[in-house]
Amino acid sequence: MNNTIKNRERTDWWFRQLFRATGLLTIGLLGGIFMMLLLNSIAFFIHVSPVDFFTGSQWDPESAESKYGIAPLLVSTGLVTIGAMIIAVPLGVLTAAFLSEVAPQRLKMFLKPIIEMLAAIPSVAIGFLGIVLVGPGIAKLFGIQNGLNAMNGSVLLAVMALPTIITISEDAINSVPKAHREASLALGANRWETIFKVVIPAAMPGLIAAVMLGLGRALGETMTVLMATGNAAVLPKSFLDAVRTITATIAIEMGEVPYQTTHYFALFAIALVLFAITLAINLVGEYFAGRLRKFQS
């Protein structure tokens, strides 16, 4: 009798150590990545002042006077990502609402695998699509020479973020209790009022999470934007200008830059900025989701 209890306690102890170890490992990895970015960035800021870095309007490390202004890259990333979200968020949430609340079972069984398959397309293939199809389409539509621009990137990133946004939004909408729907309908609301004024607001914390994940996908995507946005590290004036995102810049320049030069460290600095943006967006999203959760049982 006593022995079994001892055994269980020992197993318990081992499992606790195991969970602690895996937890620490994850935190360690994250911390390590952060430290690597930070230390290399500090090395960069010894050579270039943060003021020049953030306010300079040119990114041209190879020129004689080596310009390290992050603005063109930051604006490029912002433009492409915001554009992608403008397309993907309404489309994704509405598709999710349609799938979960309106679509007949058979249509749903047909659509869901297709949407999930979208997530499995490699980013190179999407980039290719941008070069041969979407880009030329945009060029024709707006009567411009070249469709490799921010809008092209936005459309492609929207396509890539959609499966994430739809799948997670649908889960969020599905998990809204039936009691909320019944409460609304019993008051005489119709189906649309119930979907838009009760179900979607009730699913909002989950929808925010869905958008955050989609946004993370878009912010971090490299290959597609590298192929499809023209790669001009110049401050863009509109969605129809060629852009070069932070990720594309790192991917393009990292292979050619000599080890531990200012230029080399600069790439860590812009990566750190991207990391900070992603983190900030997630924290803000979490804050709003938390506030909304107070209204739920």
Partner: protein, 251 residues
Amino acid sequence: MSDSKLSAQGLNLFFGKKQVLKNISISFKKNQVTALIGPSGCGKSTLLRTFNRMHDLSPDARIEGLIKLDELNIYDKKIQVTEIRKRIGMVFQKPNPLPKSIYENMEYALKIHNFPKQEIPALIENALKESYLWDEVKDELNKPAVQLSGGQQQRLCIARTVVLRPEIILMDEPCSALDPISTSKIEELIVRLKKDYTIVIVTHNMQQAQRISDDVAFMYLGELMEFDICNNIFKNPKNELTKNYVGGHFG
């Protein structure tokens, strides 16, 4: 029967092949409380939900027979279900406030029926007073409704129904999730509301049925076994099954 407000004639309901309501004819009188009693699974909730067409949501439910609100056939194709549900409100077994603030819960009901904006605050205050909730919540109307106690939530759900001035209020075991004090508050409320509304209430609590109801309907396995004034059902039941049930011998 002249003062009948809501009635069912020859009502049959099937879920797929299974018949859950069998040839039910019943009529509820205006400004009275009618209690539906019977053992678990006999079809009380199912019957109640036919009156505000909640079964419209389940594709496998099939209904035969006639249900009339005054002279109106509520399953008439020409009639909008939203209008029916405004006139026949429902309070559920488990309090189901929407994930919004107290005020927004009330406001939602009024907004979907396009009540004029400037009238809304007064209507809300009035309905909360009628539901004996105003004094408890008037200083925290913007608080999430789920932070109220269970009994307060249920009174909010009643207030949310009452604010639309329905003609009938259907209640499905509205006190089953509540403590005795909240229960007596709601019973008091029900008795007061019958002045203005016709109330149909499902209950498993025989004392409660005796305290609040004028008429009582006893159901058994999908059939209406006996329907009479409260006193007769409890003191002088005609049906052997009714007698056993109200005497606490089964169910």
